[in-house]
Symmetry: C2
Subunit: 198 residues, 2 copies
């Protein structure tokens, strides 16, 4: 990040896409994934769900590194109030993509920044609407076989071949990849200004 001083930063996620996005905006950070097991049976509205798990992940790493700033993130897909995480099987993937076919869903990422020694504890979420073309069963099977999207919320990656099926998004593109760069940048700049003045 340009001309900004900050404590060492840890990304509490092993997502290669989040790594790539934070690198893209020139954040200097290391990676320590959290030990948190996300529990999808937790009944919260989708936005609150992502904020809860983003904060749990950040807290989990922050307690071991209180002098650093920890970034946690959690991305889900939501359709009609129902939450889709990562698919557990080919069948699960097929059902998710069939449900999303021809419709507009939301991708929500919760982001949490926690620095225990700096008294930093900030959590927010960002929503992006994504509109799919109608998918055939053959499209879905082809995609699963060739791209194996088991590490992706909603069972698709907007940055791979699947992009041909997404005719429109409304909001932040990078949020759909798993990290809302622009919203993060705004919040992070505010944190830095508070940290400098304290």
């Amino acid at each position: 990040m340009k001309n900004m001083k900050h404590p060492p930063i840890i990304l509490a996620s092993n997502s290669p896409r989040r790594y790539q996005l934070l690198t893209q905006i020139r954040i200097d950070f290391s990676v320590i994934p959290s030990d948190v097991d996300e529990d999808f049976s937790l009944t919260l509205p989708p936005e609150a769900f992502t904020e809860h798990w983003a904060r749990e992940k950040a807290k989990n790493v922050a307690t071991k590194h209180p002098d650093k700033w920890i970034i946690g993130a959690d991305t889900i897909v939501s359709l009609d109030g129902k939450i889709f995480g990562k698919p557990k099987s080919q069948n699960d993937s097929f059902n998710m993509l069939s449900a999303l076919s021809g419709k507009t869903h939301e991708v929500i990422t919760g982001v949490s920044i926690i620095g225990l020694n700096s008294d930093i504890d900030l959590t927010f979420n960002e929503r992006t609407f994504v509109s799919f073309k109608t998918l055939t069963d053959s499209d879905i099977r082809y995609y699963y076989k060739n791209y194996n999207p088991i590490d992706k919320a909603g069972s698709y990656g907007i940055q791979d071949w699947f992009s041909v099926h997404i005719h429109k998004i409304d909001g932040c593109y990078f949020n759909v990849m798993g990290f809302p760069l622009s919203a993060f940048h705004t919040q992070f700049k505010t944190l830095l200004s508070l940290n400098i003045s304290s």
Copy 2:
């Protein structure tokens, strides 16, 4: 492209981003840039402007390769009816980004597919709305110095550090990178079905 037969394809553009995007959707193609010099003094509405130059580029290569299918593309930025192409100088870049700061502009890509021996001659355009945060003069100077965006319409790249300044898009993300993947895929599938049945 999955399970689809087509004549050899040539991309009439030396844009590395278009190369990357067509590769992403598994199109098999070679690259032969056109000799066309885009003339920005041509007075046409923005959509017609991009279609005109996309078609000129495709035609230019098609006449030398009538047995192949040629893809031409032209991307511009449009604000209040004014057309922005690639900046010619640092000053030009500064003026473009200052004009776009804090506003929503359109990115329009014209795409033309021409196959002379197959009687294929199709041109369309795709529009995406892009909303910038307010940029400071320092942001703009930093960006020019570090990213030298002289090969990009509107003087920015949505896929690099500049992404922190884009809080929202409405439409196809890849169109902003220079090629509307989803719209292209739809049109291309239609062409293939016509070509098979003729």
